[in-house]
Amino acid sequence: METLKNLFYSKTTAWLLALMLAVAVPPLAGGYLVSILILICIWSIMCFSINIIYGYTGQLSLGQAAFFGIGAYAFGILTVKLHMGFWPAFLAAVVITGLIGFLIGIPALKLRGPYFILVTLGFSVIIGVVLVAWVDLTGGANGLAGIPRPNPVPLPWGGQLSFDSLLSMYYFVLFFLLIIMVFTHRLISSLLGKTLVAISYNETLTESLGINTMSRKILSFTISAVLAAIAGVFYGSYNVVISPEIAYFARGMDVVAYLIVGGAGTMAGPILGTLVLMAVPELLQVVPSLKTLINGIILMLFLVFLPSGITGGIDTLWAKIFRSRIRQYGPARG
């Protein structure tokens, strides 16, 4: 009986339930809701990108929107101008962005704390300017149009999986979100991941323990650039049109807000934060210009009253309800 009860209240159950909802509900919902869900999945991937470098490794990057933009534009240019297929262009865009992340990371990560944040912010602003100014390549302020949806995937038992409908696009993005979640979980529970978290706790100590913190930080930053590029590619593919605004640095900050509200350094945080901060204004039909304001207020409230985010709040609540199984949670990182 006790084991049954434990199973019922376990985190695994919560995850399975969430997965079932994510798979089962959209077909019953209208196209409008599905389109929001697609965006939530894409921004959740972005959130996981920031979670790796900030949530787990402790280096706050405000430049993730730039990687998102580079990924989307690399993909757009390769497909629209060079007529590459979806999959090779997807792969190339991700590799290009990862490489740029690696090259930017080498000098930027030598800096610590606010200096690193400023460099990433500056990088993001620069990329935004380049996307507008390099008209021949990017189409300037008009952006790029005609970005394709994923090519159909042939099924082993004949027929094919096509991604023309909104719903199939949703499942496509959800599938990759799940892969990224499994990837993150595996990374963080590995020895390598433990050293990343160690850097976020105390970089000096980690270095004194014989760990090359610089190379670990560069690795983490490159992974985060790759994840942001994946989100960028999906966004371009879903939206058909991309414009320089997508790499606007404030977008990067928005996602940082999602992550902090959800709970940085946790598995559920990126999804919960994105859900709350994206879905709530959308469902309440808030005027777009007010969204940023509302996000800002929510972020500030969380920073003051619940810095460990929604996940941290749930954990505390859980511990209060089931006093018999209180565990000691450190701040923010679960």
Binding site: V197, A198, S208, L209
Partner: protein, 257 residues
């Protein structure tokens, strides 16, 4: 041949010489204590030895190799472990996870192996955990393995920070005030631990203000004052050295405490 040899080591911060023209050596198996008034340059010396500071001039030879100017993680891997004065530990990790991180510098871990969970990565992880548990029982924290580090007592935190340094499998262990902030009884326990570390074949270099501890466990003591080495010898020699008495007590001789 000495395990560690320091020649003409100098570190200037602007016009201030924190460490000036320092020569000393540590023999294999030796316990050398570094004492001196506050601000004498003891911690600066540790930071120079472990690569956190770059010396202005001078050379550091460790285990037959010149390690001057190497990065901290390289120096640690070459066999020099250290603790910090402010008891650096990973406060929000469990005791076991703390020591596991200290162990990882010796394991080959790739990104792909970590993600895919290949048999070799799993073996590696198992090996690291086993080794970490060994070290935890060596510092007598086995019963607190699953506790979060910040909930430990001050003495246990000191033990954990030593365990972290031991996990890097050092030949020479630098301890920066391991007995600061613990009571007499706990100090005895730490002295016993340091004794066992020496028995296991690790040389120890100790910075400490607790004279009772320094006098009873050191083979040799060097005394720093204003970044200079003013005395070098056995505990008795140093205790009777006029320069040392002057540096500490301003010229008056008072009973040791």
């Amino acid at each position: 041949m000495a395990l560690l040899e320091v020649n003409g080591l100098t570190k200037r911060f602007g016009g201030l010489a924190a460490v000036e023209d320092l020569d000393f050596s540590i023999q294999a198996g030796e316990l050398l204590s570094i004492i001196g008034p506050n601000g004498a340059g003891k911690t600066t010396l540790f930071n120079l030895l472990t690569g956190f500071y770059r010396p202005t001039s001078g050379r550091i030879i460790f285990n037959g190799a010149d390690i001057t100017g190497l990065k901290p993680h390289c120096i640690t891997r070459s066999g020099m472990g250290r603790t910090f004065q402010m008891t650096h530990i990973f406060r929000n990790s469990t005791v076991l996870d703390n020591v596991i991180i200290g162990q990882t510098s010796h394991s080959r871990i790739g990104l792909l192996g970590s993600i895919l969970g290949t048999p070799s990565a799993r073996r590696e992880k198992k090996k690291v955990i086993e080794k970490a548990k060994e070290i935890i029982s060596f510092v007598e924290l086995a019963d607190q393995e699953d506790k979060t580090a910040y909930s430990l007592t001050e003495e246990s935190k000191k033990r954990l920070s030593i365990a972290l340094a031991l996990a890097t499998e050092p030949k020479l262990l630098l301890l920066d005030e391991p007995a600061a902030g613990v009571n007499l009884e706990e100090m005895g326990g730490l002295m016993e631990l340091i004794g066992r570390i020496r028995k296991s074949g690790i040389s120890v270099c100790l910075i400490e203000h607790r004279m009772r501890m320094v006098m009873s466990i050191s083979d040799r003591i060097i005394v720093l004052s204003y970044g200079r080495n003013i005395a070098d010898g056995t505990p008795e020699e140093v205790a009777n050295n006029e320069n040392v008495i002057k540096a500490y007590l301003g010229g008056y001789r008072v009973a040791q405490c």
